[in-house]
Point group: C2
Chain length 341, copies 2
């Protein structure tokens, strides 16, 4: 069966100049996919490079664009014909299995939540992304959808994350860790302590607290945290990686000798760069909705945006949605059956 | 005038084998310092390498040791003759101007707070460290002393951080930023939003929100956050840096050719390593107390521990304590005088 993905072509810092080439490239590489390019026809069609519309490639016009800095509430209320909204609508109507946008995160979250609705048993959606670790990779959530979480939300994030990983990676019981700090006598704040109790009593493969450095050590397949902390951790990582890359470049550019060394080391440095390339990890899934909605980094280039499309494709192919909704009820029941176990 | 520093020689993963050589090296390099080595005499004296006691070097016996995993409350209650407690006592009694420990963070915080007491106008102590940025460096606090902060605490952290930087770096009005997330419509949780209002109304040079990546971009001289978030950001950074170093090494070790490239690039890589060496940033000051107490990383080696001693030395020499206490009253008054300004 063909997997159909709706693409908000107008979102992100670069809009169609990035999203359309990425879509065409993805289409070529994945015979099992059909794409719907959503946005201003006059901006999209000139970029199709002679590729005609077909069952596998449709253009759906949307007259408006949600701006990157726009208030999500305003975007939700006023921009009913935005490329973002139309793309999400396609998922809602069953004309697409997933949608991808590099646009305004808050707006995508608000629109996805309003249009697609929440899965039963889940109070709040969460943003989940894959991150590299020393041992492979991990998934972390929430990354910014929820700034004030209760313990029960963190439990739900744990369940959703575990189901995502079990679907995507065919792991029977992925490990789930709770992001916490170890420095303090009381080990974490009140919400996190209560969440640890809930996770321990659940049927998840809970491995306890994971400290910040444990994320990249690969201490757990799924790392759960509230959106404020998760967003800070993710952005801090981005900033540190940029700084280190900047310093490394500076050192290699220092003089003729170091420039020669750079030439010799170039293949190695390129391999290293490829390996830690954050673009490979682009594409965060909004979990907890009755539909797959994927958020690409706003600054994504064509390669990065292609990976976000790939993330949506994998989620659909591996039936992430069915897995989460089926287990929500089941896990909730198990948790209730064994209080304080 | 001589600056006198008490050193908890028993703390940290390595104890006297690291702390004593670091202390002797520091003593040699800084004619204006006098050190008091606190801990088990029988462990310290054999490491003095023939350096005799003098006005500049004393050994003070302490029979107990606070273990790294020990409960801070228990350490505070039961270990009255621990090296940590005795070192802090020396500061209290005016026999030292500052103390340094690589021991249990929670215990050092509890003991320092109990023995030294809080400065008037400050409700809670905060842990503050220096971090590198693309433009130089920044100071961040709190890093784990407070896991549930109110807005007024974040304001106090801002004041303390600004006074620290103004004392250490002779900056008249250091910039202060509030660690926040930008992804969400409401931009941050309730506490952070209220803290932003307080900081804006204060006489600090408040530059608004700083996102995670802004820490390393150098968006502010002082970055304020609660201890949970700060600790996660710091540990996440440690973990990412370790992973990147690990991957870089792996790539250079891949085969004969890459090993040759490593040889050629070695001087450059070493310069890079030196530049981002976290050991250079070792030594976090516990701010808000009536005395200077400095926490070294538990895993510090001699070089790193020496830097923590240096941090204490700089804080005393630059009259950080006087600066903070003088301005606390003044700034509190200014804040009250202009409510909602």
């Amino acid at each position: 069966m063909t997997t159909r993905i709706a693409i908000d072509c107008m979102g992100g810092d670069h809009g169609p100049s990035v999203t359309v080439p990425a879509a065409l490239h993805f289409l070529k590489a994945h015979p099992g996919v059909a794409l719907v390019l959503v946005g201003r026809e006059e901006s999209i069609r000139p970029l199709l490079e002679g590729v005609g519309e077909s069952e596998r490639l449709r253009v759906v016009h949307a007259s408006e664009i949600v701006a990157m800095g726009e208030s999500p509430a305003m975007a939700l209320k006023n921009k009913k014909d935005s490329s973002m909204r139309v793309a999400v609508n396609l998922v809602k109507r069953g004309e697409a299995d997933a949608c991808v946008s590099a646009g305004n995160t808050g707006a995508l979250m608000a629109i996805s939540r309003f249009v697609l609705k929440m899965l039963p048993g889940i109070d709040r959606p969460a943003i989940c992304t894959q991150l590299p670790t020393m041992q492979g990779h991990t998934h972390m959530l929430d990354l910014g959808a929820n700034v004030d979480c209760g313990p029960e939300h963190l439990l739900q994030f744990g369940i959703m994350g575990a189901m995502l990983v079990s679907a995507l990676e065919h792991k029977e019981r992925p490990t789930v860790g709770l992001l916490n700090i170890g420095e303090e006598e009381i080990k974490g704040n009140e919400v996190v302590k209560a969440a640890a109790d809930l996770l321990r009593d659940s049927d998840l493969n809970f491995v306890g607290n994971v400290e910040g450095d444990g994320i990249y050590k690969g201490d757990a397949d799924v790392v759960v945290c509230d959106g404020f902390v998760g967003n800070v951790a993710l952005k801090t990582s981005e900033g540190l990686a940029q700084m280190l890359a900047f310093f490394l470049k500076q050192e290699f550019k220092r003089n003729l000798l170091t420039k020669l060394a750079a030439l010799v080391a170039l293949p190695v440095l390129n391999n290293f760069k490829k390996r830690v390339d954050h673009r490979r990890y682009n594409g965060a899934i909004l979990l907890g909705l009755k539909g797959i909605s994927v958020k690409s980094h706003g600054s994504a280039d064509s390669f990065a945006f292609g990976n976000a499309i790939g993330r949506a494709f994998d989620a659909v192919e591996n039936r992430v949605l069915e897995r989460i909704s089926a287990r929500m009820a089941q896990t909730a029941a198990a948790t209730k059956a064994a209080p304080g176990a």
